[in-house]
C-alpha cells in the first residue's frame, strides 16, 4: 500500500485522493488523473473497489437499521421526556427569577426595558426520523458485469433521448469516440437501478465492448456504486447530477484514452442532449432528431420511468431522419 499522503513513484495521485474518489469528494479537476492512475495501477484499483464495497455494505447496514433506529426504547424515550421536562421546569424557574431581578432593576434604576430570556417552546412529542445525508445510490443496479458482456439490444439514440428527459437544466454532450476506433453498437435504458440511467456501448476492432453508463441522480447524492466482474475494469465519476461508469476489458490500458475522451467530450463537442425535455412514458419516436435538436423546456418537467422493454431493438426509420454521424463505414481500431 502506498504511504498515506505521499505521491507514488508511478503517478502524482496520493492516498487521500483515492479515498476522496470513493467518498465522492474528489474535486472535479482531479478525477481524470485519479481514474487514469487506477487504470495503470491494478493494486490501487483493487483497493478502491474494495473500499467501494465497504461503503456499499455500510449503506445496506444503514438502510437495514432504519427500523431499529426509529424505535427508541419506550423507557428511554420516557426518561428523555422526563429530562426535558425537568430542564424546562428549571428554565421557567430561572426565567421567573430573572423576571424578578429585572423588575427590581426597573424599579430601582427606573430606566430602560430589561429583557428576560424566554424559555424554549415546544415539547417532546415523537422521535422523528429524517436521514441526515442522502444514502449512497446504486444508479445502475447490481453487477454491471452481467450486462457488459452482451450487446445492448436497445437503440442508442432513443436511450439518449429518454435520458435527456430527466435532465432539467444540465446540458449533456456525449463524446465522439470514433477517433479512438470505437464504434457505437447500441444502448439501453436501465430500469433496475436507483436512478434513471442508460447504458451506451461501443466496440473495437476485436469485438471487445466498452460501456458507458450514465445516470441522473438526486442533486445532493454524493456516491454511486457499481460492481463489475473480474475481467472488467469499472471507472466511476460524477459531474453534477450525472454519474458515469466506464466499463471495459481489464487488460486494456488504452481505456485511459477513452476516459479522457469521455471526460473531455462531455462538456464540448460530441452529441448534444437537450436539457429540459420531459420524459414521457415511451421514448421519442424520432430518436436521432430528439437527441440533437433543442427542445423547449416545459414549465414543470416531469420524470417518468421507462420500462426497458419499451425501447424496441428495431424501429422504423423516421420520415426525415437527421443523422448526425455515420459511423458504420469507419473501420474500428482495436483496444
Amino acid at each position: 500500500m502506498n504511504g498515506f499522503g505521499a505521491a507514488t513513484a508511478r503517478s502524482t495521485v496520493d492516498e487521500g485522493e483515492l479515498h476522496a474518489l470513493v467518498d465522492g469528494r474528489l474535486p472535479a479537476g482531479r478525477r481524470a488523473a485519479v481514474l487514469a492512475h487506477l487504470l495503470i495501477d491494478g493494486g490501487d484499483r483493487e483497493r478502491v473497489e474494495a473500499y467501494r464495497r465497504q461503503l456499499a455494505g455500510l449503506a445496506r447496514i444503514r438502510a437495514g437499521l432504519d427500523r431499529y433506529a426509529e424505535g427508541f426504547a419506550p423507557e428511554l424515550q420516557q426518561a428523555l421526556a422526563d429530562t426535558v421536562r425537568r430542564v424546562r421546569r428549571r428554565r421557567l424557574m430561572l426565567r421567573g427569577a430573572a423576571g424578578l431581578v429585572a423588575a427590581s432593576l426597573l424599579l430601582l434604576a427606573g430606566f430602560g426595558a430589561v429583557r428576560t430570556w424566554q424559555a424554549e417552546p415546544g415539547a417532546v412529542t415523537a422521535i422523528v426520523y429524517e436521514p441526515e445525508f442522502p444514502l449512497p445510490e446504486f444508479p445502475f443496479g447490481g453487477s454491471l458485469g452481467q450486462t457488459a458482456t452482451a450487446r445492448p439490444e436497445g437503440d442508442r439514440e432513443r436511450s439518449l433521448a429518454w435520458l435527456a428527459g430527466h435532465l432539467r437544466d444540465e446540458p449533456l454532450k456525449l463524446p465522439d469516440l470514433r477517433g479512438l476506433g470505437l464504434v457505437p453498437v447500441g444502448g439501453q435504458v436501465l430500469t433496475r437501478g436507483s436512478a434513471p440511467a442508460v447504458r451506451l456501448a461501443w466496440t473495437d476492432g476485436q469485438g471487445r465492448m466498452v460501456d458507458l453508463y450514465v445516470g441522473v441522480v438526486s442533486s445532493d447524492a454524493e456516491r454511486a456504486f457499481t460492481m463489475v466482474g473480474e475481467s472488467l475494469v469499472s471507472l466511476h465519476w460524477r459531474r453534477g447530477r450525472l454519474v458515469f461508469a466506464l466499463v471495459g476489458p481489464a487488460e486494456s490500458p488504452e481505456l485511459l484514452q477513452v476516459v479522457q475522451a469521455v471526460i473531455a467530450g462531455i462538456g464540448q463537442g460530441g452529441e448534444a442532449l437537450p436539457a429540459g425535455k420531459a420524459a414521457g412514458p415511451a421514448p421519442d419516436p424520432r430518436p436521432i432528431r430528439a437527441a440533437v435538436e433543442p427542445v423547449p423546456s416545459p414549465a414543470s418537467p416531469t420524470v417518468a420511468p421507462l420500462p426497458e422493454k419499451a425501447a424496441p431493438a428495431a424501429e422504423p426509420a423516421p420520415a426525415n431522419p437527421v443523422v448526425p454521424v455515420k459511423v458504420d463505414a469507419e473501420k474500428p481500431k482495436s483496444l
Partner: protein, 193 residues
C-alpha cells in the same frame, strides 16, 4: 500536487462558530431528536451492544438537552451531538467494554436488520464483525464518514483531531477492513491510532 480535502471549508476545528437563525424558530428539543436515529445507528456499530449503545445515546441526549442554553450558538448541531457522544464514549469506553456481553454483535444486528438476502447477509456479517475488530479510533472514522456521511472536516471536528489524522485513520481503517473481510475477522490487527 498537494490535495486539500476541504478546499471550501474553514479550517476551524470548533463547531461553535455562530448562531443559526433558523434554529430560533424551532424547538431545540425537536431539533435534537431529529438526530436520534443517526446517533443510535452510529452508537450501535461503535460499541457493538444495543443496550450500551442506547445508554450512550441517552446520556448524550440528556447532556445536550440539559445544556441547551450553551449550545444555542452551535452552527452544526449534528456535529455537536456526535462530538458529545464521542466524548462520552471515550470517557466510558473502558467501563462499557468491561461489561459487554458475550453475544457477537453480528448476531445482535442480525435480529435488528431488515431481512437481507442470504448472500448479502454473509457479506454484511463479515463487515460488521470486521468493524468490531478495528481499533476504536479507526472504527469511529470509518463509521462517521462511511455510515453517517460526515465530511472529513466534520469528522475531524467531532473527534477533535486534525483532518490529516482523520484521513490517516480512514485509510488505515479501510485497509484493515479490507484485509479482515478477505482473510477473516480473526486476523489480529496491530493497533495504530
Amino acid at each position: 500536487m498537494p490535495w486539500d480535502p476541504n478546499p471550501d471549508e474553514s479550517p476551524s476545528r470548533s463547531v461553535q462558530s455562530g448562531a443559526s437563525p433558523a434554529r430560533t424558530r424551532r424547538s431545540v428539543d425537536e431539533e435534537v431528536l431529529e438526530h436520534v436515529s443517526g446517533l443510535r445507528r452510529y452508537a450501535l456499530l461503535l460499541v457493538g451492544d444495543p443496550h450500551d449503545a442506547d445508554d450512550l445515546v441517552q446520556e448524550c441526549l440528556v447532556r445536550v438537552i440539559a445544556q441547551a442554553r450553551s449550545w444555542r450558538q452551535v452552527n452544526d448541531l449534528r456535529a455537536y451531538l456526535f462530538t458529545t457522544l464521542h466524548n462520552i464514549f471515550v470517557d466510558g469506553h473502558r467501563r462499557r467494554h468491561k461489561h459487554r456481553g458475550d453475544v457477537p454483535i453480528e448476531t445482535v444486528i442480525a435480529d435488528l436488520l431488515a431481512p437481507p438476502r442470504q448472500q448479502d447477509w454473509v457479506e454484511l456479517r463479515d463487515l460488521i464483525a470486521a468493524l468490531q475488530v478495528l481499533p476504536k479510533e479507526q472504527r469511529e472514522v470509518v463509521l462517521l464518514v462511511g455510515l453517517e456521511g460526515l465530511s472529513y472536516l466534520e469528522a475531524a471536528n467531532v473527534l477533535g483531531v486534525p483532518v490529516g489524522t482523520v484521513m490517516s485513520r480512514l485509510s488505515r481503517g479501510r485497509e484493515a477492513l479490507r484485509r479482515l473481510v478477505t482473510h477473516g475477522a480473526t486476523t489480529r490487527l496491530r493497533v495504530v491510532k
